[in-house]
């Protein structure tokens, strides 16, 4: 039968403060693939403000059907399995927003993003944030916060990482970090001049612009 996957959309948009930051990185008229496009908010934003040629891939069939009904070009697909069908450098930007931590093989997925896109934009919740550290340190329990609302046993987020972890993975894959932004709890950018450790402690989310 159909799996539970249909029920969990890859992102919770109430908490997607990263959308505008992602959109700011994309110049008008770009060809964009949004992997894990959810209910299509980013694609709609990009089409309205940047006139992009936007496509989406989303795991949840419900999300896909809603997107297509709203006129977006979206297919049902799995970032872990279906990126291989896209040609090299077929898009100017491939966006993976709040989805990396839910993939089975984040390294392979990131590698594919860098192959398909001239640029890749990846945003993810930072597991090195002080609240997460505090929760684990003081309570000794897996953190359940406003931004990470799932219990450990039913979370779609199976591969959390910290900002430092992600930077290491980029190095391993030979990706160049063109731009990186950390966002605080209110979605505000944390000052550019801050060192990595500061971002890794106070950043709730991170947005990376990469290329290879």
């Amino acid at each position: 039968m159909r799996q539970a996957k249909g029920e969990i959309m890859s992102v919770n948009h109430a908490q997607r403060v990263d959308l505008e930051v992602v959109a700011d990185l994309i110049p008008p008229q770009s060809r964009v693939l949004d992997v894990g496009s959810g209910d299509g908010l980013l694609l709609e934003l990009l089409q309205a403000t940047k006139q992009v040629d936007g496509r989406g891939m989303e795991l949840s069939q419900r999300g896909v059907n809603e997107c297509v009904a709203r006129g977006l070009s979206v297919i049902q697909g799995d970032a872990d399995k279906d990126l291989k069908f896209y040609p090299d450098k077929g898009f100017d930007f491939v966006v993976l927003s709040q989805t990396l931590q839910a993939t089975r093989n984040p390294k392979l997925v990131l590698d594919e993003l860098l192959r398909i896109g001239k640029h890749a934009i990846v945003s993810f919740p930072n597991f090195g944030h002080w609240r997460v550290r505090l929760s684990l340190f003081l309570e000794g329990r897996m953190p359940v916060t406003k931004d990470l609302p799932y219990s450990w046993y039913d979370t779609p987020n199976i591969h959390f990482c910290t900002i430092r972890d992600f930077v290491n993975l980029c190095e391993e894959l030979g990706a160049t970090v063109e731009k990186a932004t950390a966002l605080d709890a209110n979605g505000q950018k944390i000052g550019l001049s801050m060192p990595w450790w500061f971002w890794n402690f106070f950043g709730q989310q991170a947005v990376f612009l990469l290329r290879r």
Binding site: N65, G71, V74, P87
Partner: protein, 389 residues
């Protein structure tokens, strides 16, 4: 009664009660079989008005036993058009906005040249003297119809099942003539299982002594029993086990107990017999052979060195594919492989899988999610094409 029916079908084949476009010796139809079909004719219906820019035309392609009467009463059955739930004034495909064309495919039996049509060389029905027709031949003929209207680019081509195969063929053969394409419940090739079912149907027709090697009209007969059995077997493949169980279960037909005989004890038997009997009233047996063969031969990848993506190389057409979870004739995987090929070709593609237990035939039914997808896709394509609402 038989003679009456025979005559009626025959008339509809040569003199259809719809519009008909006739092509003389100067305009033959080139067939994949390697011969030319000439003269030939295309029976068609249109709905709505072609705008001055000729940019609002939608071509609807019908399925195996469909016809041109997509959005108006069928002259043979007296029933509503086969996609009237979708197409008409104020409907999802709004004929007050779009110019909808639907033609009977070549090889059909409602007015386009097919095996029931009169062969001008002999004055008798073609029967099996008609060359084998392919999906590409059907599309080639449709192109001549579209040219007749002076339409350079169709706003959309849509269809389900065999109609979806034509949509894919259109998009592959004439990408510059198709702005958007909506192949529903279909695939880029006919699977081995599907060929198997078709072969069962054909053998049922041919096993009927009234078939007479395809020359039944000359004997004043029609292989009704064989064609009915073919339809009964095929009809099962259009539904799903869950839907059959939901509708019929093991319910008995107009009786309280089993009869210990071979009467239609069960409702499902009675239902299938009815499907078979009503089908032979409206469809020509030889045409059924030709239609099923056309689907069997369809393999878009094979025409492009085995690589389906090459069938769509460089396409600018916007695609939307739809499949249904309980469709075991064209399971979702068939659509998905087309989607992957389109991804590889860099095409703009949407893909919706709809959860339903109604099987393959879901595309002909009132399925709100299907309508929502078509509506969203058409609306966004219309904006991109600059068509006013």
């Amino acid at each position: 009664m038989v003679a009456l029916r025979t005559k009626r079908t025959n008339n509809e084949a040569d003199e259809p009660s719809s519009l008909v476009l006739r092509f003389g010796a100067d305009k033959p139809l080139k067939l994949d079989a390697g011969t030319l079909l000439s003269p030939f004719q295309i029976a068609y219906k249109t709905y709505g008005t072609l705008n001055d820019a000729r940019s609002n035309a939608i071509l609807v392609c019908h399925a195996l036993t469909g016809d041109q009467h997509v959005a108006s009463t069928n002259p043979v059955t007296g029933k509503p058009g086969w996609w009237e739930v979708l197409i008409g004034p104020g409907k999802i495909i709004d004929t007050s906005r779009f110019f909808v064309i639907c033609s009977n495919v070549i090889g059909g039996c409602l007015g386009s040249t097919g095996p029931a049509s009169t062969n001008p060389a002999t004055g008798k029905p073609y029967g099996l003297d008609l060359p084998i027709i392919t999906i590409r031949d059907m599309v080639r003929a449709q192109l001549m119809l579209v040219d007749h209207f002076g339409i350079e680019k169709l706003f959309s081509v849509l269809g389900g099942s065999m109609g979806g195969m034509q949509v894919l063929q259109w998009a592959s053969s004439y990408p510059e003539r198709v702005f958007s394409a909506l192949p529903i419940a279909t695939g880029a090739r006919h699977s081995s299982q599907n060929i198997a079912f078709h072969e069962v149907g054909r053998q049922a027709v041919m096993a009927d002594p009234d078939w007479h090697g395809g020359k039944y009209f000359e004997h004043g007969k029609r292989p009704e029993k064989g064609l009915a059995v073919a339809r009964m077997a095929a009809h099962i493949t259009y539904l799903s086990e869950a839907a059959l169980h939901r509708k019929f279960g093991r319910n008995l037909q107009d009786r309280d107990a089993l009869t210990f005989g071979f009467d239609a004890d069960f409702q499902i038997e009675s239902y299938l017999r009815h499907q078979g009997m009503t089908f032979v009233d409206r469809f020509d047996a030889n045409s059924y052979l030709y239609m099923t063969r056309a689907m069997d031969y369809f393999d878009l990848a094979a025409d492009h060195g085995g690589r389906l993506a090459d069938a769509f190389a460089g396409t600018k057409t916007r695609f939307c594919l739809v499949s249904f979870t309980s469709d075991w004739l064209f399971p979702t995987e068939e659509s998905r492989s087309v989607v992957h090929a389109l991804n590889a070709a860099g095409a703009s593609v949407s893909f919706v899988e709809i959860e339903t237990d109604r099987g393959h035939d879901a595309f002909l039914l009132d399925e709100p999610e299907l309508f929502a997808a078509i509506n969203g896709f058409i609306a966004s394509a219309a904006r991109a094409r600059g068509l006013s609402a």
